[in-house]
């Protein structure tokens, strides 16, 4: 860990209106927290700014929380291969109404890798990614109902005439 980067992170957090929570010893990641509105500018800066140079998006993973408020949390794991930095950005958005999908900004124009990661999160968690070029389902069949990684997910009874539940 090179702590000389820390003031730059604090500046960045202030500039973009996000929270910087320091270095996590166990994981080896610098930690950011953001809301949906400021997420895009934070990630843009981490990508564009020469002192961070996050050229590698490791993954976008999701999480469905039911308490205290029902929300979707997306975790962006970034890495800078040139600057040897690893950064974790957590972004939370509440689910106000079951029928409305929470919306996150797409970063597929910054990192090509985000394209499929976002499609996967979109189909499994029921998220809309604003500005994504092609938000079709990735793993599930096109006509699948529901979002399997939500906590309250109930699988449909049949798919194309086949029972989903196991029975003897």
């Amino acid at each position: 860990m090179d702590s000389s980067i820390e003031p730059l992170f604090l500046d960045l957090a202030q500039k973009t209106g996000t929270d910087f929570t320091g270095f996590d010893q166990t994981s080896g990641y610098w930690e950011f927290k953001s809301d949906v509105i400021h997420l895009r500018s934070l990630l843009e800066n981490l990508y564009m700014d020469n002192s961070f140079w996050c050229d590698f998006l490791q993954s976008i993973s999701g999480e469905h929380k039911q308490a205290p408020l029902e929300s979707i949390v997306l975790h962006y794991h970034l890495e800078s291969l040139t600057r040897s930095l690893k950064i974790h950005v957590a972004c939370s958005e509440n689910i106000v109404e079951a029928s409305i999908k929470p919306t996150f900004p797409s970063v597929s124009d910054l990192w090509k890798a985000a394209d499929w990661h976002e499609r996967e999160s979109a189909e499994l968690f029921g998220i809309h990614f604003e500005g994504h070029p092609d938000l079709r389902k990735l793993l599930l069949p096109n006509d699948w109902q529901g979002f399997p990684l939500r906590k309250d997910y109930q699988a449909q009874e049949r798919y194309h005439g086949l029972k989903i539940k196991y029975e003897k």
Partner: protein, 157 residues
């Protein structure tokens, strides 16, 4: 071959026996794999186990294949495709269900919302191979079982 007559170099057989012998000795499977069982299947094709010696040569088209080896987890998304491939195969056609997933859903039987609980729900299966994944010996066993089954069948019923 049912009988050899000795010196004359003549062989007597029935048409059934002849066609069964031909079928059983050239079981051409459709070349595709679905999951980790496919790795074992590929191992069986390769030189250490050499399925070639049974006349088992993978074909890249369902039109030329006699056997479908369902090697791996059949998801609902894949089920439509597997069914279509089976329908594209010319008769007589046979199916080997390889591994627990394709037999009954395997480890996904309870919480696998995306897994068909047994490939026999979409296509008829001739031989089931237990294992997760089965060893190449088990797959070879299944092919020998299928050959036995073919030898016992008769076109005239």
């Amino acid at each position: 071959m049912s009988e050899k007559s000795g010196e004359s170099g003549l062989m007597l057989t029935t048409l059934d026996d002849l066609s069964n012998w031909a079928q059983a000795s050239s079981l051409w499977p459709l070349s595709f794999g679905l999951a980790c069982c496919a790795i074992e299947m590929m191992g069986s094709y390769a030189s250490s186990f050499d399925l070639d010696r049974f006349g088992v040569i993978p074909r890249a088209s369902p039109r030329q294949a006699d056997v479908m080896i369902v090697s791996g987890t059949v998801t609902f998304k894949m089920a439509d495709r597997v069914k279509r491939l089976y329908e594209q195969m010319a008769e007589p056609r046979f199916v080997i269900s390889m591994g627990s997933c394709s037999n009954c859903g395997g480890p996904y039987w309870e919480h696998g919302y995306h897994v068909v609980k047994g490939v026999d729900r979409i296509i008829p299966v001739d031989v089931y191979v237990p294992g997760c994944p089965p060893r190449p010996e088990a797959l070879i066993g299944a092919i020998i079982k299928l050959q036995e089954k073919i030898r016992k069948t008769s076109e005239n019923g």
